[in-house]
């Protein structure tokens, strides 16, 4: 038998420790992505299919390079969180969920960093 009070036993348990913080972070990224996505479309759409000099010249602009890097940083965090929710919603085996979440994180880090590397290399060297 425990001498703890009912309140003492439940303090610190429950789901309301990090939930609101996590939820708010997801929304904050979504809001940031509104202007960043518009910038991304405006910068990239005219360049697909253009010749190499046109593309490198355009992407060497510091403002465009910074906007694109910001876009990819926030996008891949947003993508990682979004895909994780999809995995948690539709995959019903605990082991598979864990493996997929780890693969998701690896994938998002790898491609996010590849994007940033490419943009930085174009901006610095062409």
């Amino acid at each position: 038998m425990s001498f703890k009070t009912a309140k003492g036993r439940v303090i610190g348990l429950g789901s309301a420790k990090e939930g609101a913080h996590h939820w708010f972070g997801e929304r904050l990224k979504a809001v940031a992505l509104i202007p960043l996505t518009i910038a991304f479309i405006a910068i990239i759409a005219p360049l697909i299919g253009a010749d190499h000099t046109t593309v490198t010249t355009a992407l060497q602009s510091p403002l465009k390079a910074i906007a694109l890097i910001l876009f990819f940083v926030v996008t891949f965090k947003h993508l990682e969180e979004g895909l994780q929710v999809v995995i948690e919603d539709y995959v019903h085996s605990k082991g598979r969920v864990l493996v997929l979440i780890v693969l998701n994180k690896l994938f998002c880090w790898a491609f996010g960093l590849a994007a940033i590397f490419a943009i930085a290399k174009i901006a610095f060297a062409g």
């Binding site: 929304r27 992505l33 996505t37 759409a45 490198t56």
Partner: protein
Amino acid sequence: MANANGGKRPLSPHLTIYRPQMSSVSSIINRITGVALTLGFVLIIWWLLAVTTGGHYFDDVNGFLSSWLGGLIMIGSLWALCYHLLGGIRHLIWDMGYGFDLKVADRMGWAVIIGSFILTLIVLLSAGVFS
């Protein structure tokens, strides 16, 4: 969790029983476009890496993305991005506690669907895809 009720507890009606509604359909499209956009971003990053390599490799990747198949994926991704952007704004409005009135929710759904096509067309026209 699929077997959580063990056949004993009552379950709420499943998705398959409900008649599709504007709010549910436009919301699931937002999720589908989000997942599908992964492919679009992989291709764009492939293209960006090809820009750093240059030469024939860039010409090949750039050529693929402007071919009919690559172009179709790019235009599809652009539409998905426009949809996800507008649908996302709608979800943010809902998250702030507005727009739950059935009429308003329906109208926002149509606005997202029609708006996504208009936005796609505007981008394609201003990017000179048809010229």
